[in-house]
Symmetry: C2
Subunit: 555 residues, 2 copies
């Protein structure tokens, strides 16, 4: 039952995303049949649904529209090539258990990418909502063209989208809450809300047919949708197009992987299941390979599809199979039903879906939690909009790597003291602590490597200059997880330099793995001070020495 409901509900989506991808509408229907079967067979999630999704569709359009005319046989062949490449890559990720590679993308970068893509999608649909022609090779040109041609909007088309937009927005954002308040069970309400786009589309289609709006008022409609299955697609990409498709296919595979794993894990957690991410990837990859041979439209794990699945009551992979079978029947018999569906309403439903993809919450959260992550998010989104999808994601990766390096290069270093009456040591600036005159305890909160030695040295010099009495410097290594060759040499030089100035260098709380490496180095062997197991032992020992030396001990 859930399977049949899902089929009916996803038809408008499938048609819309095919058009978004620049492919003939039936491609979206085909992509909801065989790839679903492949995924049910090989994937591990029991309720995740694959099919045409917004993000792969806009990527397909963005990548291929500069290479061929959308809808042309060459374009369709390239789309199939893209699905094949990204499918094979995803399969390889899954089989060789390389799912962890998707870690290269941080969540803010992925979120920025999706939000940026959503804006691209919205801009691409404006011409259908207004019923105008636009020109433009990039986002700004398209947007400008929309604005300058706004006056030529088709009034009936504008009326359709003007009515559909608030209605669809309301059904997505307010209706469930309203229904629940009116006493309808939440799951039931969710199904009805999902049906709303279908009702809107159906009503609009009936209006078009009844009033002959497409012929009388030039309202653009879907047009003839090929009935039956056609032939298996055997346009395989040649070497030249393979080179052009490889990078976008890789990005598609990566983004697909991240989305699939993130969403799959969240779903699995809700249902107390454990997800095998790599098996998921095998399923998703196989689905795309199959998609390449039938219709040629790249597919993904769809958030809204899965939500529909869950809301409709799907509890096992069987629902997926039933849904594929129902879609097959529709393709074989009923595609003429969709021919006079108005594009304006379809485009409006895509826009509403795209609006929900813009993740302002993630931006707000990153902004308040970690400004650098927020910049990476914004940078990725801006990159997607201004430079294209590939450069956008490259911008994001670059920003996150630069953040990592800049942070590792500017370590937090704290002068610490002992909280009176305890064995705890804390930052002297944050806590009231006791210190030993002439002894400096410095905690370095970062692994030492070639990139941050200057910063560490500068701080050391500054601290030593503040207090000329210092005769013992204790470096607390509890947060130093590694010391590379350059750092070891610089510390070794520092040890000699300090010794020449009459200052002893001590180390405390050196981690096991770090100590193992340092044992045979000049630093360890000629250290002017001692290596202390704990800061407290260093404190006790140095305090006792000072008392012995001077006969006094000032807290």
């Amino acid at each position: 039952m859930a399977g049949v409901i899902v089929t009916i509900l996803v038809i408008p989506q499938s048609l819309a995303y095919a058009l978004l991808a620049g492919l003939p509408p039936q491609a979206g229907l085909y992509a909801s049949i065989f790839p679903v079967v492949a995924y049910v067979w090989l994937g591990s999630s029991s309720i995740q649904a694959v099919g045409p999704v917004a993000i792969t569709s806009i990527m397909t359009f963005a990548v291929l529209s500069p290479l061929a005319t959308p809808g042309s046989p060459q374009y369709i062949a390239l789309a199939a090539g893209l699905a094949l490449c990204s499918g094979v890559l995803t399969l390889v990720f899954g089989i060789f258990r390389l799912g962890f590679l998707s870690q290269l993308l941080s969540r803010p970068v992925v979120s920025g990418f999706i939000s940026g893509s959503a804006v691209l999608i919205i801009i691409s649909q404006l011409k259908f909502m207004l019923g105008i022609q636009v020109k433009g090779d990039n986002t700004w040109q398209t947007l400008l063209s929309v604005l300058s041609n706004f006056g030529q909007s088709n009034p009936v088309t504008l009326l359709f989208s003007g009515i559909a937009l608030p209605w669809l927005l309301l059904s997505r954002y307010g209706l469930v809450r309203m229904a629940v308040r009116m006493g309808i069970a939440k799951t039931k309400a969710e199904v009805w809300v999902r049906v709303m786009p279908l009702i809107v589309l159906g009503t609009a289609s009936l209006l078009v047919v009844g009033l002959n709006l497409d012929n009388a008022h030039h309202v653009a409609v879907v047009g003839a949708v090929q009935e039956g299955l056609g032939n298996i697609n055997l346009f395989l990409p040649d070497v030249g197009s393979l080179q052009q498709l490889l990078t976008p296919a890789l990005i598609m595979a990566f983004i697909g992987t991240v989305q699939n794993i993130t969403m799959g894990q969240a779903l699995a957690a809700k249902r107390r299941e454990r997800l095998d991410p790599n098996r998921e990837l095998v399923g998703l990859g196989a689905a795309n390979v199959v998609a390449a041979f039938y219709g040629g439209m790249p597919v993904g794990g769809g958030l809204s599809r899965t939500a529909i699945n869950l809301a409709a009551g799907a509890r096992s992979p069987l629902a997926g199979l039933v849904s594929a079978l129902s879609m097959l029947l529709i393709v074989l018999a009923g595609t003429h039903w969709f021919a006079r569906m108005p594009l304006a309403v379809l485009a409006t439903s895509i826009v509403v879906a795209a609006i929900s993809m813009i993740d302002l919450k993630a931006l707000r959260q990153a902004w308040s939690y970690d400004r650098a992550d927020a910049y990476a998010l914004l940078g990725t989104a801006a990159g997607v909009l201004l430079l294209g999808l590939e450069m956008g994601i490259a911008t994001g990766i670059l920003l996150s790597l630069i953040t990592l390096l800049v942070r590792a290069s500017t370590p937090h270093i704290a002068v610490i003291g002992r909280i009176v009456g305890t064995e705890h040591f804390r930052n002297v600036e944050r806590h009231g602590v006791e210190t030993i005159p002439g002894v400096l305890f410095l905690r370095i909160d970062e692994s030492l490597f070639f990139g941050n030695l200057n910063a560490v040295e500068d701080r050391l010099v500054a601290e030593l200059q503040k207090d000329a009495r210092i005769k013992d410097l204790v470096l607390i290594m509890s947060a130093v997880n590694r010391v590379d060759t350059t750092a070891m040499e610089v510390l070794s030089d520092l040890n000699q330099d300090l010794a020449a100035r009459g200052i002893r260098l001590h180390l405390a709380e050196v981690k096991g793995p770090v100590q193992d490496r340092l044992l045979n180095t000049p630093l360890w062997q000629s250290l002017s001070g001692r290596v202390h197991l704990s800061v407290n032992r260093a404190f006790e020992m140095l305090a006792a020495e000072k008392i012995a030396d001077a006969g006094l001990y000032v807290i």
Copy 2:
């Protein structure tokens, strides 16, 4: 006095490096006059010496020989452009206090670069040592050409280099020790050893003159060295060559910066001085800018020049001025003395200098201390030899960044317990410790960021599966210096996931800066366990709870 000695000693070097750079011999002499004055005026090191050095010379040759015929006016103009660019860049680094940028290069990468360049230098000199012609656009072709033409070697030339090589090697590596053993003071011995190349070259030149070897036996000699100062060089580079020169100039400036700062700091430490690295860079940059206008040969801070300076007794910048003045006199009056110096012996002296640049000690040290650094060193050297100087250094930087990322992505995670009778917590695998049944203490030795969350989660899952009784998980954050947005979200998900499975998540020893950020996040606000100031408090509290729960407490 030291100044005059230095001048005489560096003459062969200056001529040899000019030839190595593909410039006329007098360029090396000019480069030892005005740049030295500029450096004495603006630099901060009292005894460091600038002038033509091996590394800038081979870089000049490597960069410019594909662009113009060595020795041609165009080549000389390009060399001047290179000196100017690298000088201006170095000046900018110094003035804007950007010396820290040289941190991008780790010591192993710099060492690999210098060792690789040294091998390049040796290969480039073989043709002079053998008296043959070679062809070849890259290292391997040149080497093959040398091997296949070995039979055509000029016998007298071969004799010269065959005798000079062991003699110069001995004087560099064994003579000081022998002299000291024979009772000669070390500093005196060092001066005499430095004089040895001059004696060898002088003897060889006298042999050439006396036996007329250059004319009778085709022994290649330096040839006419222009006397007098010539004109100020005003061939400034045009925009096209500027673009070609910018990257190599940047590398030259970087390598120069690193060498200068490293060497300068070592010298300053020996002499109980403090070095201002940025002022050093101003001096070095100014020296190169001046060099560009007179003779056009890029200069550097020379290790062997400085060593000669020190050995000859230079104690103040005055020595540099005297040396420049003496060189000026020689250029004005005596360059004809060098015309019949045999190239074979000059080349041999370069080879001996280059051999001393191959830093096997650094490789051995890196190999035993940190294998990844050793690979970066070898990769850089191999890159320099196989792909050229620019790609070599790029390889090195890439390898060191990849190492950083790979390490940060594979964090060390330890299950820890308390050392009995103390408040110290250590790895259960390394120390005999007490633990609490049902409580898992995990210490994560790395900042948490998007790239290592998978590894952390995998380890967590594995540890939880080992022991189904675990009801409390304590993450010890003493070595976690940052938690990025992705990590915060994943931890938050983990907290919920564990709570659903009846496991509480605790945090202990969260650092101040990390805690500040986490305070307003869902993780902190809905943490199923507690936040503990110290591991010991967590241990005590959880142990007490277990006792209360079960009436027993097993150590």
